[in-house]
C-alpha cells in the first residue's frame, strides 16, 4: 500500500473530529473523499500529514512513519496541498517549489559556505526539476515572480507544483477546486487525472462531485468523524446512508 492509515483519531476537547478512521490507498490508485462540511475530512488530512496531533498509525510507501512529524512524512513521500492555498508569498514561485525538492544535499550552512561547487551543481538540477514542475501546471513563465503576485487559481497551481516536485508516492489534495472557475477546474482535473499513470497515488477531498468522479476510482464518504461508505462512486452514491448524510434526498433522484 502506498498509504495506509489505521485507527486515526483526533480529539479537540470533547469534540471527536476524527473518530478512528482506517484508510488505504494502493499504488496508482486515486481515492476521492467526500462528506458534509465539518465531517472531519480536513482534520483527517491534517492528521495524516502531521499537522495536528493524532493517534493511530501511518504507513507511507510501505514504511512506517510517526504521526505528528510533518517533515518526516513529507520526506517519506506523502505530499499535500491545503484547503486555502498556502504559498510563501515573499518567495518567488520557483523558490516555493525548490523548498520541496527531495534532494536536500548542500542546502545547509556547509553548502552555503564550503561546498559552493556541490551546492551549485545540485541546485541546477533542483532548479531544472522545479521549472519542469512549474511548466506542468503552466506557471513556468512566472517562475521568478513573487508568489504573492499570483492570482488565487495560480496559487493553487503553484501549490500543486510544489507538492509534485519530489515525485511523491501519494498526493493528498484538500479541496483543490475550491475557488477555481470552470476552465481552471477542468485543467485541475486533467492534472490530477494524469497522476496515477505517473505512479503518484491520489487522495482528494472535494465538494465538486464531478471532479471526484472524473479523477477517482474509489470514493470514501465521511460523516461525523467516521467513514460511512467506501466503494466505486456509482455504487456509493446510491447507498441510503450517503444520500441521507450528504446528497440530500433530492440528490438521489439524479442517479
Amino acid at each position: 500500500m502506498t498509504l495506509r492509515a489505521a485507527g486515526i483519531a483526533v480529539h479537540f476537547g470533547a469534540l471527536r473530529a476524527v473518530d478512528g478512521v482506517d484508510l488505504a490507498v494502493g499504488p496508482g490508485e486515486a481515492v476521492g473523499m467526500v462528506g458534509p462540511n465539518g465531517s472531519g475530512k480536513s482534520t483527517f488530512l491534517n492528521a495524516v500529514t502531521g499537522v495536528v496531533a493524532a493517534r493511530g498509525s501511518l504507513e507511507v510507501a510501505g514504511r512506517r512513519v510517526p504521526l505528528g512529524r510533518p517533515g518526516a512524512i513529507r520526506r517519506a513521500g506523502l505530499a499535500r496541498t491545503f484547503q486555502s492555498p498556502q504559498t510563501f508569498r515573499e518567495l518567488t514561485c520557483i523558490e516555493n517549489v525548490l523548498l520541496a525538492d527531495r534532494d536536500r544535499h548542500a542546502t545547509g550552512l556547509a553548502g552555503a559556505w564550503l561546498g559552493r561547487r556541490a551546492m551549485w551543481r545540485r541546485e541546477r538540477r533542483r532548479w531544472a526539476r522545479a521549472l519542469a514542475a512549474l511548466d506542468r501546471v503552466g506557471l513556468a513563465d512566472r517562475a521568478e515572480e513573487p508568489a504573492g503576485l499570483l492570482s488565487y487559481g495560480q496559487q493553487r497551481m503553484l501549490e500543486l507544483a510544489r507538492a509534485l516536485v519530489g515525485e511523491p508516492a501519494v498526493l493528498v489534495a484538500d479541496e483543490p477546486s475550491a475557488g477555481l472557475d470552470d476552465t481552471e477546474t477542468a485543467e485541475l482535473a486533467r492534472l490530477l487525472g494524469d497522476l496515477p499513470a505517473r505512479g503518484v497515488s491520489l487522495l482528494v477531498v472535494d465538494h465538486k462531485l464531478d471532479l471526484v468522479e472524473q479523477v477517482a476510482d474509489r470514493v470514501v464518504v465521511m460523516q461525523l468523524g467516521r467513514v460511512i461508505a467506501d466503494g466505486p462512486p456509482a455504487e456509493v452514491w446510491r447507498r441510503d446512508e450517503v444520500v441521507e448524510a450528504y446528497l440530500g434526498r433530492r440528490g438521489a433522484a439524479r442517479g
Binding site: A14, G38, A178, G248, G251
Partner: protein
Amino acid sequence: MLEVRDLRVTYGTTVAVDGVDLDVGGGEIVALLGPNGAGKTSTLRAISRVVPATGTITFDGEPVGALRPEAVARRGLVHVPEGRHVFPNLSVHENLLVGRSARDGRPSAFEVDDVYDLFPELVPLRSRAGWALSGGEQQMVAIGRGLLAAPRLLLLDEPSLGLAPTVVDRVYAVLTEVAGRVPLLLVEQDTERALRLAARAYVMAAGRVALSGPAGEVAGRDELVASYLGRTATVRDGA
C-alpha cells in the same frame, strides 16, 4: 428591512461574491442556498461587516455598509457564525450572558431563561466551559446567544454543519419555534430542511444569485440539484 445591492467581496484576486442583490422583509424567513464555495458565507459576513465588501447594505432604511461589525450587531443585525464560535473559556451561562451585549437598550423577546426553555439540554451544562461542549451543544449555545442579543434580523450560517441528524432535527425544531418571533436569513447546505422552514430562497452559485423565488418553486427546479453537484455551468445558463 434588509436591502443588499450589488454586493461584491474579493479576497486578493478571487471574487467570492460577485454582485449579489438580496432582500429580507420584516418578519420574513429567507434561505440562502448553494454549494460550498458559492459565496453564501462571504455574503453573510459582508452583511455583518466582518469582511470588507463593496455595494450598499441598508438595514431598516439606514445604510450600515460603513459601520464596524460591533455597531452592526448593536443595530440588531445579529450574526450566528459558521463554526459556531462559542467562546471556549466562558461557561454556557456566560456565553449566553455575553449575548446581551448587543441589545443597546432594545427590548428583547428572549431572556436567558427562555433560552433554557427552548434548549432544556443546556440546563445541566450551565457551568460547562465552551470548549468542552459537543458540536450540537455549541450550536445551541450559539443560537441562544444570538437570540439574547434582541435581534431584529438573525443571520444564521449553516446551523446544521457537522451535526448528527437527530441533533439537526432538534436545532430545526427550535428554529421553527422562534421563526414567528424573529426574522431569519438562513444559510444552509441542507436544502430540504431550509426550504421547509423558509418562505423564500435564493440559490447562489459561483458568487452570484442563480435562482430566487418562493421556497416551493425553488424546491422544484432542477438547477438547484445541478448547482449542488458542481454542474455550475448549467446553473449559469439558466440564470
